[in-house]
């Protein structure tokens, strides 16, 4: 039996207001860094195109297949805050999905941050605990599986997650750590007793990136073709980890992405050797077949599958270091409101907008950015950080 483990990342960042050097230090205590209007607009747009229709479709599929179709989600803290502020019906639809018993929830840092890369992991741990409390409050559930921001993973993070009591952790099934080995099994970190789920990036990206690409030999991708490909995979598990916004947002309705999704369970279950599991069930059912050793952080982002998406140029390092320095000062000071602002500024997207990576990745970056260029992204973000720094000195 080979189990299909489908998992969706659901995230929206808190985009910044335009903030010029002339705004630095101008506004005494109540900083207004976040562009509520833009954030509201984008959230509503994506909710209507993606979150609500896809949740609805998935709920119907789970009911239709009587729980044989099983999926997992991770919801970031910033995403949930938007739901609660702008459209509580979105959260209600996730609650309905969870109540079917065929849906699992995954842990992560509340702010979808890079705190897992800081010099010590106390801030990371606090943000994971914040997420834990949020999931408990919404779903009365303690997640068993952890996935760090954009699947950023190294030995240190794996060890910490093991110590915090999780059973499993998710990252990218890249050759960098696997060599000749297959991502379709569970592995064990060299320094911890938890299990590692590895994303099958080839099959995942067929849906996430290539689905509507006419230059791709697999085009047009149909559910029966895709199910056939999966039926021929060797291994225990096929981990399909996908941005939730793929459905209706990155891939528009017109591409046929919803038709594909609606036929997928039926087509997959036609093959006797295939079934669906949640991430917790995958970890309960299967055993690791080997160890992975990851001294340098990997992720599922861009073609490089490392952290260069966020820390790839001097501008990104400058912001990252500034952010860390501000945090040290803030924690000594203990100002709850500014601490919260600082945490929202840690959302990895702010650094993602500053990436200058060229060619294909650069185009992907531009698609997701509201800035004219990474340089504008830097100026704005750095100006905000300078303002916050002045407020605490």
């Amino acid at each position: 039996m080979t189990s299909i483990c489908m998992y969706f990342e659901v995230h929206q960042p808190m985009r910044l207001n335009r903030f010029s050097v002339f705004n630095i230090g101008s506004d005494a205590d109540a900083p207004n860094y976040f562009n509520n209007k833009l954030n509201h607009e984008i959230f509503e747009k994506v909710a209507k195109k993606c979150y609500l229709p896809t949740n609805n479709l998935l709920l119907n599929l789970i009911n239709e297949f009587d729980g044989k179709f099983r999926i997992s989600f991770s919801l970031t803290g910033t995403f949930v805050e938007y739901c609660e502020r702008f459209m509580p019906s979105v959260i209600d639809s996730f609650k309905k999905l969870f109540a079917t018993g065929a849906v699992d929830m995954i842990e992560e840092t509340y702010f979808h941050s890079l705190s897992g890369l800081y010099d010590d992991l106390d801030e990371f741990e606090e943000q994971v605990m914040m997420h834990r409390q949020m999931i408990k409050r919404l779903f009365n559930y303690d997640p068993k599986i952890f996935r760090n921001t954009e699947a950023i993973y190294d030995n240190r993070i794996a060890k910490k997650i093991g110590e915090m009591g999780y059973k499993g952790i998710i990252t990218e099934g890249t050759e960098k750590i696997l060599g000749w080995r297959s991502p379709n099994y569970l592995y064990r970190p060299i320094n911890s007793d938890i299990k590692v789920l590895l994303r099958n990036y080839s099959l995942s990206d067929d849906i996430g990136f290539r689905f509507s690409s006419r230059h791709w030999p697999g085009f047009p991708l149909t559910a029966d073709k895709y199910a056939h490909w999966m039926s021929r995979c060797e291994g225990d598990l096929i981990n399909l980890f996908i941005d939730y916004e793929t459905f209706g947002e990155h891939q528009w309705t017109e591409t046929g992405i919803f038709d594909f999704l609606s036929h997928l369970p039926n087509e997959a279950l036609k093959h006797e050797q295939l079934d669906f599991v949640t991430v917790s069930e995958a970890v309960d059912r299967y055993q690791p077949v080997g160890e992975i050793d990851v001294p340098w952080a990997i992720s599922w982002a861009d073609a490089d599958r490392d952290v260069s998406t966020w820390l790839g140029n001097d501008m990104q390092f400058a912001c990252f270091n500034e952010l860390k320095d501000i945090g040290k000062k803030l924690k000594k000071r203990g100002d709850e409101e500014l601490l919260n602002v600082w945490r929202r500024l840690q959302t990895s997207d702010h650094l993602y907008y500053v990436s200058t990576k060229g060619l294909e990745d650069g185009n992907v970056h531009a698609y997701f950015s509201h800035y004219d260029s990474p340089y504008d992204g830097f100026i704005n973000y750095m100006n905000v950080l300078q303002d916050l720094k002045q407020k605490i000195s």
Partner: protein
């Protein structure tokens, strides 16, 4: 393939991007085995021997005045237009031989191009480096020029525009079929980096089109926050007296240096030592100066509508009238080293795409389409 190219200026003597373009293009065409006879007005400073077997510079007549724009002085303007006509007539007379096509540049050479196409019965390619709308800064463009330009564009078999922005103007304002227009972005011979100083540079003709007044307004704002910064306005033009007055009125004249006209070597030097280059053009078909600045390791803030901005990724873009944002970006470049460094490094890397070889290749593609 043999081309009769009708130009107006050629280094060492040049007033604008047209001369720079013709220099780079003809030399690379010659290297690619296209035979080019380059016709230009005879000057005191001879362009001389090209040093290339396939490229012959042919100077015709005797023309002394070289304003790229329309001179404001009425008498000078009269002489200027007359000399343009005289040059065009002379070229039509002089161009003889077995050419495969005519290639002319801007309104200054269009009449000759059209006449030669008819006289020799061969195709005409027209490069548009700027239009009357650009040169007037979109304020009262002159029909006299527009009519010459429209006739040239209509008669040309194919048009090369230096940017999509300019292609848009040719389509919208001159009513030309877009399928007839190819866009070929400009290129640069890299200048090389120097020891940087805290200098913010404007370099260009001091005309309405180039927007130096917006540069001064931004300078005023920057100096309120960064009082140690210095500003250089390099170049000359009919706006010079007005700009000097503007600087005095704003109380920043001790921080702004007006250099007047610079030699080629002085231009390279000022690019090398400047920390920031600003190109606030009201209308800019391309803006080769921005590429020159980048090639000297100087990050560039360019007008959003400039052809350069549409073609080049590693730069900062502003609306020319938004002097607050211009100042924001200048200050950011002065304060944040990582921004400066990344723009300089990535900019130089991107320059590899902007070579005259590539311009020549794309131009040959255009030639092949009309032959």
């Amino acid at each position: 393939m043999k081309v009769a190219m009708i130009g107006w200026e050629y280094p060492p003597f040049k007033a604008g991007g047209l001369g720079t373009h013709c220099y780079g293009l003809t030399r690379s065409l010659a290297d690619k085995n296209v035979k080019v006879d380059f016709y230009m007005p005879k000057t005191k400073h001879s362009a001389g021997n090209s040093g290339k077997k396939n490229l012959v510079i042919k100077e015709v007549g005797e023309t002394e005045i070289f304003p790229y724009d329309r001179p404001e002085d009425k008498e000078l303007a009269g002489q200027f237009f007359e000399s343009v006509y005289r040059y065009n007539d002379l070229v039509v007379e002089k161009v003889k031989g077995n050419y495969d096509l005519i290639h002319c540049h801007d309104w200054l050479t269009m009449k000759a191009g059209v006449a030669l196409k008819e006289k020799l019965g061969i195709p005409l390619v027209l490069s548009v480096h700027s239009t009357e709308y650009d040169r007037s800064g979109w304020i009262c463009p002159n029909d006299w020029f527009i009519n010459i330009e429209r006739e040239g564009m209509e008669k040309a078999d194919r048009i090369i525009a230096v940017s999509h922005f300019t292609k848009g103007v040719i389509v919208d304002k001159y009513g030309i079929n877009p399928d007839k227009i190819s866009v070929v972005h400009n290129a640069v011979y890299p200048i090389g980096e120097g020891e940087k100083q805290e200098i913010v540079l404007f370099l260009g003709r001091l005309t309405i089109q180039k927007g130096a007044e917006f540069f001064l307004r931004a300078a005023k704002k920057v100096l309120e926050y960064e009082p140690d910064s210095r500003f250089v306005v390099a170049g000359t033009g009919d706006m010079l007296p007005r700009l000097i007055n503007q600087a005095v009125d704003m109380g920043i004249s001790s921080k702004v240096i007006f250099t007047g006209l610079l030699t080629e070597e002085e231009v390279r030097h000022i690019y090398r030592i400047s920390n920031v280059y600003v190109m606030p053009s009201v209308s800019e078909p391309f803006g080769i100066t921005a590429l020159e600045a980048v090639s000297a390791g100087t990050p560039t803030i360019a007008s959003k509508t400039a052809g350069f901005s549409e073609a080049f990724q590693n730069c900062l873009r502003v609306d020319f009238w938004d002097t607050d944002e211009m100042a924001n970006k200048i200050i950011s470049l002065l304060r944040y080293d990582p921004l400066h460094k990344t723009l300089a490094t990535e900019g130089k890397r991107e320059l590899d795409l902007f070579t005259w070889d590539r311009v020549a290749e794309k131009t040959i593609d255009v030639y092949n389409r009309v032959m």
